[in-house]
């Protein structure tokens, strides 16, 4: 993350996002600080999808007519651009409906390995095997592993979290052992903002021959990420969190692994040969894309990574760094406000979660909403983490390239307003 990058021209960027021009709650300027849940789409993405639908829409990989050709080209070109964006090869990119599906894909394919051929043996898990996750996972990177354990008899173990909101790696070598088959962890916490030490986890996983599965939902949209360089085995992210459409996500898998991985969702377009008695399956990525895919959404995601690339991920990261730092410092000055997560910018991205003494997060969120500031309140699909941090819920502000320091000010003002309203300040 270099702070020497030229600053973003926020006025120009904002103009690309029509929704940011609207007002809420009787004329308040919309201050959108919920991009961690879902980001907004620039006109470029909306236009790309619409142009596709008005000129080339057809079922991909299925027709011999001109529209089908154009649609297939558009879809595969999007795959190639998304792959390049994260340092992967096109055949390592599987389009899913969201990141959640990608994680389930890996977990289900692993239980399907039990009834698949010998090439799938490396993915089999059963009693005595262990899956290691962390206490800071989004439910999407926790529940599928709980379910895999339930289906197969494997055991779930997890890294704890320190009071500061860092992964507690003290017992790395006791947790990740020869029994470990998978180490699944988030690249950047959607609550704490913590950026986890991928290298250390990957190294240990490799030592013991475990697969690494990285939840990159909150990193790929916000930092330059090179999955090949990180050396992870699988990774997932969602289009809607990176200026792209909803309904499309990505599972990245190293070629060699995807080649051997059994299918998950089955049906049309993922087969090699079908007889009533049994079927065989196509090579990746097709093997994992059953049915007519989210075609225009992939095209939209391609336009989103183009947009992000033009702006520059380094610059976006630097910009968010600045906003996060400003928010942390302003919030820490308010008596009664406690930030949940690292309060310094070391290995930290732009999710800022906090509590306000005497004001429940729901109520704080409501006051913020009434002044136009859209934040998220609750446990943000990370309930165990909230339990660990001993808070039932938090208020979370998340930043993106279209936010500016005025938005930070609005947030801070809104928090003070909530304190005034509930008589705690």
């Amino acid at each position: 993350m270099t702070s020497t990058a030229t600053p973003l021209d926020i006025v120009t960027i904002k103009a690309d996002f029509p929704i940011l021009a609207r007002t809420v709650r009787d004329g308040k300027r919309l201050v959108y600080l919920d991009s961690g849940a879902t980001a907004q789409r620039p006109t470029q993405v909306l236009d790309a999808e619409r142009a596709f639908l008005e000129t080339s829409n057809a079922a991909v990989h299925r027709g011999a007519h001109q529209l089908a050709e154009e649609a297939t080209d558009a879809y595969e070109s999007a795959r190639a651009r998304v792959a390049r964006f994260v340092g992967a090869r096109p055949e390592e990119v599987v389009f899913t409906k969201n990141a959640t599906e990608g994680l389930n894909l890996v977990a289900y394919a692993m239980s399907n390995a039990a009834t698949s051929g010998p090439e799938a043996e490396r993915f089999r898990v059963g009693p005595g095997d262990e899956i290691v996750v962390t206490e800071m996972e989004h439910h999407a990177n926790l529940v599928p592993w709980q379910q895999l354990c339930q289906r197969t008899g494997a055991t779930l173990r997890w890294f704890g979290v320190t009071d500061e909101g860092r992964l507690d790696l003290a017992d790395l070598d006791e947790l990740v052992t020869e029994r470990t088959r998978v180490v699944a962890f988030t690249h950047q916490s959607n609550v704490l903002g913590t950026v986890n030490p991928v290298a250390a986890l990957v190294e240990r996983a490799r030592q013991v021959g475990a697969l690494t599965v990285v939840d990159a939902c909150q990193s790929v949209p916000h930092l330059p990420v090179d999955l090949d360089q990180l050396g992870v085995d699988f990774a997932v992210f969602s289009g809607h969190k990176m200026l792209g459409p909803s309904g499309v996500g990505v599972l990245y898998g190293r070629s060699e692994l995807l080649e051997a991985l059994p299918p998950f969702v089955t049906g049309g377009s993922m087969i090699e040969m079908v007889r009533m008695e049994s079927s065989t399956f196509a090579p990746p990525p097709q093997r994992f894309e059953a049915g007519v895919p989210m075609t225009s959404q992939a095209v939209g995601l391609g336009a989103a990574v183009d947009y992000l690339s033009v702006v520059g991920m380094e610059r976006i990261a630097a910009h968010e760094h600045l906003l996060t730092e400003a928010a942390l410092s302003a919030l820490s000055e308010i008596p009664g406000v406690t930030v949940v997560g690292p309060t310094t910018m070391v290995d930290r991205g732009g999710a800022v979660s906090f509590t306000v003494d005497g004001v429940h997060p729901h109520d704080a969120g409501q006051v913020l909403d009434s002044v136009g500031v859209a934040v998220r309140v609750g446990h943000h699909c990370a309930w165990p983490l909230h339990r660990r941090m001993a808070v039932p819920a938090t208020v979370r502000a998340t930043f993106y390239l279209y936010n500016d320091l005025d938005d930070v000010t609005a947030l801070v003002e809104g928090v003070r307003e909530a304190q005034r309203f509930f008589g705690t300040a």
Binding site: H360, H362, D363, Q366, H379, H386, P392, A393
Partner: protein, 156 residues
């Protein structure tokens, strides 16, 4: 300011000085309810006076509760105790039905103070669908606890 519409004085009063809070003995049944979106929780006990548990003519002798949550869920549960203690189960369910109707009415339902008492203060909350669940959390626990008390003759 819009906020005052939602956070009527009555609500803030109940929030700051909740009625009947704390879990008490004796009780016939307890229910624990959670709002899965925000993790808010309420544990609520009912003590009924009547031979047959959910006999609609049984009297609600006591409702006691504990929990954590936002002002809306806490205040609504406090109001609930005022509205149902001393009434019959049937009367309590009628109040519940009226309150649900109000909350799901998107601000279009005119509340009846004779039925809902302080509950009419939640009319403004009904305009915020995300908060409706908060207002109903305690009521869900109440309904559930009453229905669990069905078999109290056997379990006592």
């Amino acid at each position: 300011m819009q906020l005052d519409q939602m956070y009527q004085e009555i609500i803030l009063d109940h929030y700051k000085n909740p009625h009947g809070r704390g879990l008490r003995e004796p009780f016939d049944a307890e229910s624990h309810q959670i709002n899965p979106v925000c993790g808010d929780e309420v544990s609520l006990r009912v003590n009924l006076d009547g031979a047959h548990g959910t006999d609609p003519s049984a009297t609600v002798v006591d409702v006691s509760y504990d929990g954590q949550g936002c002002s809306i869920s806490q205040a609504a549960t406090s109001v609930l105790t005022d509205l149902v203690i001393g009434r019959t189960v049937q009367e309590a369910f009628d109040v519940h039905a009226a309150f649900v109707e109000l909350m799901q009415g998107r601000g279009q339902v005119e509340p009846d103070e004779d039925v809902l008492g302080d509950g009419i203060a939640f009319a403004g909350v009904a305009k915020y669908p995300a908060r409706v669940k908060c207002a109903l959390l305690g009521w869900m626990a109440f309904k559930d606890a009453v229905s669990r008390s069905t078999g109290k003759e056997e379990t006592r």
